[in-house]
């Protein structure tokens, strides 16, 4: 067991490729237990690729990724998930050939202490009402709730959330924001990829800025407003 001060997740010199295309050029970042950390950056900066590398579905990667002291760079994604990582992909990954309930029950339990189905239904009542529907018949917001909910059942303690608010109505975005805060209060560690830093600001402890496959800056949430001009330049907004 690592001392509590050590990061739960540490990336050192992470390189990643899609086929021949070199996408990550040495990502360094730390996530401490119980933190919410965001990856900010423009489209194509390598944020999603970083998450895919952490969960192990980016086939070609090198450098070092340790979770709770375990080196995972050479492990298949199924073994990485079994360490207690949960992945919510950008495209949500709801299965069309499964019902909502089947989607919810699909990911196997990887660690003890996951939420019960009743707790998840209390968090996202829509999932209970529509349990028998085909997964992809849900609205975008409901699909996002399902994608998050099914990970909460597994007992994963580190959750990788890729743009959970993309394309959703403001009221749904607020609901997802509240959910993330509740998870944080419950002790979950969260890595959040987000385009909308105003939304990220309400949730996160620290922000990493990713540019062209590298981490170019780290801004503590408290300093975000002071760095707003710099951030605008980074994000090109």
């Amino acid at each position: 067991m690592n001392p509590p001060t050590a990061p739960l997740l540490a990336l050192r010199g992470l390189q990643g490729w899609y086929g021949e295309s070199h996408v990550l050029h040495g990502i360094d970042l730390d996530v401490r237990r119980g933190e919410v950390v965001t990856l900010l950056g423009r489209n194509g900066a390598g944020k999603t690729t970083t998450l895919r590398a952490i969960i192990g579905i980016l086939a070609k990667r090198s450098g070092s990724i340790t979770y709770d002291g375990v080196e995972t760079i050479g492990m298949p994604s199924r073994s990485i998930a079994r360490l207690g990582l949960g992945y919510v992909p950008e495209e949500r990954g709801i299965f069309a050939s499964l019902t909502v309930q089947e989607n919810l029950m699909l990911p196997p339990k990887v660690k003890p202490g996951g939420m019960s189905v009743a707790e998840i239904h209390a968090l996202f009542p829509n999932l209970k009402e529509r349990a028998g529907s085909q997964g992809t018949k849900l609205s975008g917001g409901e699909q996002q709730m399902l994608a998050i909910g099914r990970i909460l059942r597994t007992g994963a303690k580190l959750i990788l959330l890729d743009e959970p608010t993309e394309g959703l109505a403001p009221v749904i975005v607020q609901q997802i924001g509240r959910t993330i805060l509740k998870l944080k209060a419950d002790g979950y560690t969260i890595v959040l990829v987000e385009q909308n830093f105003r939304f990220a600001q309400t949730l996160a402890d620290r922000h990493y800025v990713v540019e062209q496959g590298r981490v170019v800056d780290m801004i503590p949430n408290a300093d975000l407003d002071a760095n707003i001009d710099k951030l605008h330049t980074y994000l090109g907004v």
Partner: protein, 295 residues
């Protein structure tokens, strides 16, 4: 004599029954192919050879070990399934990252090798396999004579197809299979051992072929070419039904068996080609097949 559309009912029902029997084999075989294609993206050309192997294992169990039909019905699919698992682990698993064509070529080669080995050992004249005593004889129905064994083949095929469909559609195991068919990467990222699933699915798919082989042994003679004869038609069935569609393959299998039987009654000259004509028509109108999802 009673006739329908100028055809004696005796002949009509006789051919319909034959069509239903053929359809039973089409259905089990195309079901296995559909499951394998859906999850592994492998067009399993060795399917016919493994069906033939199922029939031979039944014959060997009887000849060398004195184990009869009912033993064979359980053991032969097991033997073929384990053989399939070895094939998948040793050879097929190496091709998943390549184009479909490589899997097709590999399994086609395997089919030729397996057939060649059996032909070398047992010749091509065919070996007899008796109908089990419990299923010999038949029922004299008002409109035709129904051999018990043929009725059994239809019932057994329907039961196996239905059971497979239920497992895939209604169980947790089936949910994993469906999910992994859609998005294996994500299912693996949830901590599921997808490669193991692929291996077991291939084993199960070819075990279905082995089961069909045992059912076929007492009807067709057990011979090394029996798989090659049927598999081309089965592939046409799969294309018509839609690659990868579970229910589609079963319905199309039985349906085309009946169509074939009807053609034998009304226009016998076309009976050998009717399925391929339908395949061409379906491909023109619905390229993904009758039950296929458009990718």
């Amino acid at each position: 004599m009673t006739t329908i559309f100028g055809v004696p009912t005796q002949a009509l029902f006789g051919q319909l029954l034959l069509g239903l029997i053929n359809g039973s084999f089409y259905a089990i075989l195309s079901l296995g192919l559909a499951i394998i294609f859906g999850l592994l993206n492998i067009i399993n050309f060795a399917h016919g050879a493994l069906y033939m192997m199922g029939a031979f294992v039944a014959w060997m169990l009887l000849t060398y070990l004195g184990l009869g039909y009912w033993w064979a019905l359980g053991l032969a699919p097991l033997v073929v399934g384990v053989f399939g698992i070895l094939l998948e682990r040793l050879l097929i698993a190496r091709l998943y990252k390549l184009d479909h064509l490589y899997g097709l070529l590999l399994t086609f080669g395997l089919a030729l090798i397996i057939q060649g080995l059996f032909r070398n050992q047992y010749g091509v004249s065919g070996l007899p396999y008796a109908i089990p005593a419990e299923l010999s004889g038949g029922q004299r129905l008002p409109f035709m004579f129904l051999p018990n064994y043929r009725a059994w083949v239809v019932v057994a095929s329907l039961t196996v197809c239905l059971a497979t469909w239920l497992v895939i559609e209604k169980t947790k195991l089936g949910a994993y299979l469906r999910a992994a068919t859609e998005n294996p990467t994500l299912v693996q990222a949830f901590g599921v051992n997808v490669p193991l699933f692929l291996t077991l699915t291939y084993g199960f798919g070819v075990a279905l072929a082995g089961f069909a082989g045992v059912l076929a042994a007492p009807i067709y003679s057990v011979n090394p070419n029996m798989g090659a004869d049927i598999i081309i038609v089965v592939f046409a069935v799969v294309v018509i039904g839609g690659m990868g569609s579970i229910l589609g393959s079963v319905i199309t299998g039985f349906g085309l068996g009946l169509v074939e039987g009807l053609t034998k009654v009304f226009y016998p000259e076309a009976s050998a080609t009717v399925i391929f004509v339908i395949m061409v028509l379906v491909l023109l109108v619905k390229p993904a097949g009758l039950f296929g999802r458009t990718a």
